[in-house]
Amino acid sequence: MKQLATRYNPHDYWLLPVSILAAVLGFMLASAWVTQESRPSRLGLLNPEQLGRVSSGPIDLQNQSQQLTQEVSKLRAEKTQLENSIAHQNSSTSTLNQNLQEAQLFAGLTPVKGPGVVVTLSDSKKAPTAFINDSIIHDGDVLRVVNELWNAGAEAIDVNGNRVVGRTSIRCVGSTIMINYREIASPVEVRAIGDSKTLIGAMNLPGGVLAALRSNDPDMVQIDPVQDMVIEAYTGSTSHHFMQLAESGKS
């Protein structure tokens, strides 16, 4: 340091103002620095024009949506744990809790496991015929398979990781299929928990839902019985804006 001081050249008078403003610059940089944790909250503070510019499109939103659904699953699991733990206070709370858990089970808000079947629908890998529409799977195919499985006594159905609940919609958006507002693509795996034999029988009905697909290309459909599988909980929203609780029997 002494060396620096004794070698101070009057020509270096510019060092002081530059260093001061360099420190200001460092301060500004630190404020503008976006770390991984602060990113979501900072993105939320922007107005729409800036947001359109900043978010790197679908990838960013996908990451965000993934994080949010994971959080939702975690919170719901925690809620179930809490419900179960406070239910042991007396018999009425435990009955109430039992009803609650069964309702949640029926509604698809909890992960479930059991035996069942996995139906895999994939786009045809053969060269397309005159009607290319016949070589790909559509929302209608998935819809019919799900419908048939319910009819055959399935108790929980999941399509490519998306739990099918009362509000689930399966529709075609351009070239992709959307379920629970999430895009899925071929191969589509429909997993159902229930009696394997009955479910497989329903799938294989002659002239049934899979007949058309199979006549085009048998490899488009694959059915496997499963001894034990886990189907995850529904991770979508359960909020309602229009419906309210009503008394039964009144129109």
Partner: protein, 148 residues
Amino acid sequence: MKAILIPLIAVLIGLALGLIVNHPWNGVLGQYLAVASLAGMDTVCGGIRSGQEGKFRTDIFITGFISNVLIATLLSWIGDKIFIDLYLAVALLLGWRIFTNLSLIRRSLVTEWHDKQEKVRSAKALAKSSNSPLPGSISAAQDAQNTF
């Protein structure tokens, strides 16, 4: 060498200060702070360069810093309003200038170092040649006469 080191240390100090202070900046401002920092970087690099060249003027530097930051922010803001990515133009230009300034700084530093090496070498050569068998007894005037 200390020409870049001292401002660099100053930037690091500023960074550390900024990270320690918990700033509740509005997200809107934060976006523009990025472009403003770029403008600041350009001005600081320009300041170092002109300091190296001996052409530094404090008033121009300080007013330049403030005006560059403000203009960069203003252009980005207008660009947001009229849906033209003006911030891109600002970033491009500032980036270019930073590049140019840094290479000029590098140039002057290397020439400085090179000249210093030359000086050291020539000083050594001079010292060697004046090492005659009679150490230090010949005065400068006598020496001049002798060499004549």
